[in-house]
């Protein structure tokens, strides 16, 4: 009996030894990785279906017409990036395409949810965009896995397996953000608009500069402060660059060239840094893909206006989830920092433009010509 066992175990070891030469270890490794990716893909699938259901429920609750058709349209919507080998006027082309996308979505939601107010519609729109993002993550991971299996590309599968924890983390943040957006409370990214509102004062009336961006005027220590932010309390980032450009041109026309521009925004912290850290610098603090940021830089360069930036640091997840207390507490320091810059770098009688960049969800204002 012992001889047989010994013979079988020796044969097995020989088979394993020979198999190693033919890459059996790699195949086994790929099998384990693939199983792991598939298990995580199930989680991603569950997240996207769950997000889709939550968004649908919200739209149905708010009497949307053909919500599944609308959600399908948003999920499968795409933007073809402009030609970049010819960079002339690329910003204008990029801006045109993204404005078209925003307008298309807004009009679709307006016609599908005619009875809902602006805040509810913006919530539904953002929820649909988050669902689209989760759906894309799932489809893209599945695509990489199937391509890796089909082409027996173990490097692709290995890379995918290594980044899966990060992908899951991003998907998890989006999924949580969906619930927070449907509630309507301010998110971390609202740091800029909140600083703008606190600086302007709660009783100051605001006027519409563009369709979804507002401006208000106030005074501080003999300086005239013009504050710009996205219109709230709906989920909206507005067009701060375009609105600031317009406001500054108006000020220059009336003979009051601004002496200082300050952008305030939430910024991603590095791992290990504290949440809510306030820092200042030079340049336009805005996280867009280009069209809005370049407008700040162009108008500042055109009239030689010093362009300063104040940022409130936070993690990526903290920026799109309900604002944390640490961030809320840091906003007072950010307001003080803006005031210090104004006092230090301008004189009495000067004009300063402060732009609160970010999503204005849960941050309202008294709008001229409306009740609230």
């Amino acid at each position: 009996m012992a001889t047989w066992i010994s013979a079988i175990s020796q044969l097995l070891f020989l088979i394993i030894f020979v198999a190693l030469f033919f890459g059996a270890n790699q195949r086994l490794q790929i099998y384990v990785w693939t199983k792991d990716i598939r298990a995580k893909l199930v989680i991603l699938d569950r997240m996207r279906k769950d997000a889709s259901k939550r968004t649908m429920d919200f739209m149905v609750k708010n009497k949307a017409r053909e919500p599944s058709k609308l959600l399908d349209k948003v999920v499968n919507f795409f933007v073809i990036p402009p030609v970049d080998i010819e960079p002339t006027d690329i910003i204008r082309r990029l801006e045109h395409l993204f404005n078209l996308r925003t307008r298309r979505f807004r009009e679709d939601f307006k016609s599908a949810m005619p009875e809902a107010d602006e805040v509810t519609r913006s919530k539904a729109e953002t929820a649909a965009e988050i669902t689209a993002a989760l759906d894309f993550i799932y489809r893209y991971v599945r695509h990489l896995l199937l391509t890796g299996e089909k082409t027996k590309n173990w490097i692709l599968i290995m890379q995918l397996q290594l980044v899966m924890p990060q992908i899951l983390q991003i998907a998890e943040t989006y999924r949580k953000a969906l619930d927070d957006f449907l509630v309507g409370a301010p998110i971390g990214d609202a740091a800029g608009p909140i600083v703008a509102v606190r600086l302007a004062g709660y009783e100051t009336p605001w006027r519409l500069v563009t369709e979804d961006t507002v401006a208000a005027e106030t005074t501080f220590e003999g300086r005239r402060i013009v504050v710009v932010k996205a219109k709230g309390p709906e989920s909206n980032v507005g067009r701060p660059g375009y609105a600031t450009y317009k406001v500054i041109e108006e000020l220059v026309e009336s003979g009051r060239r601004p002496n200082l521009m300050i952008t305030v925004d939430a910024a991603l912290k590095l791992e290990g840094e504290d949440t809510g850290l306030v820092a200042e610098g030079v340049g336009a603090a805005i996280g867009d893909i280009g069209p809005e940021k370049i407008k700040f830089e162009r108008i500042a360069a055109k009239y030689e206006i010093p362009l300063r930036a104040v940022i409130v640091k936070m993690g990526m997840d903290e920026a799109i989830l309900t604002m944390k207390k640490e961030i809320s507490d840091a906003l007072g320091k950010a307001v003080e920092r803006v005031k210090n810059i104004i006092l230090r770098e301008t004189s009495e009688g000067d004009t300063v433009v402060v732009i609160g960049v970010g999503n204005s969800m849960g941050v309202g204002q008294i709008l001229l010509g409306t009740a609230s």
């Binding site: 012992a2 175990s9 020796q10 298990a39 998890e172 949580k176 509630v183 709230g232 809320s328 849960g362």
Partner: protein, 108 residues
């Protein structure tokens, strides 16, 4: 052919360890998935901060429709007027120990 030289009792222990590690990894993965589900379904406690014109500061649970800059007449500020100046979320404490949770405990 060279013998592995591994006695039977050692082979048994080796197989047992392999089995234990496999079971451990399976349980760990299941636990990770469960924890992820729990994290997604977290309930954030949202607080609305109201500053009244008399300088007092009040806090209350967030209500749907609250937003920063909203004028509050009466209510928390009594006969005075106030404004919502902050809204923030407080994450529930993560589960402590084996399956124990502090959810449901009285908070000061």
């Amino acid at each position: 052919m060279a013998s592995t030289g591994m006695p039977q009792w050692m082979q048994s222990i080796f197989i047992f360890i392999l089995l234990a590690v496999t079971i451990y990894l399976m349980i760990k993965q299941t636990k990770e998935v469960k924890e992820l589900q729990e994290r997604i379904q977290r309930k954030v406690k949202r607080i609305t901060v109201i500053e009244c014109v008399d300088g007092s500061k009040k806090e209350r649970p967030y209500r749907e429709g609250d937003y920063i800059g909203l004028k509050i007449e009466g209510g928390e500020c009594g006969e005075n007027v106030g404004y919502i100046t902050a809204i923030y979320g407080v994450e529930p404490q993560p589960s402590q120990g084996k399956g124990k949770s502090d959810q449901g405990k009285a908070t000061p």
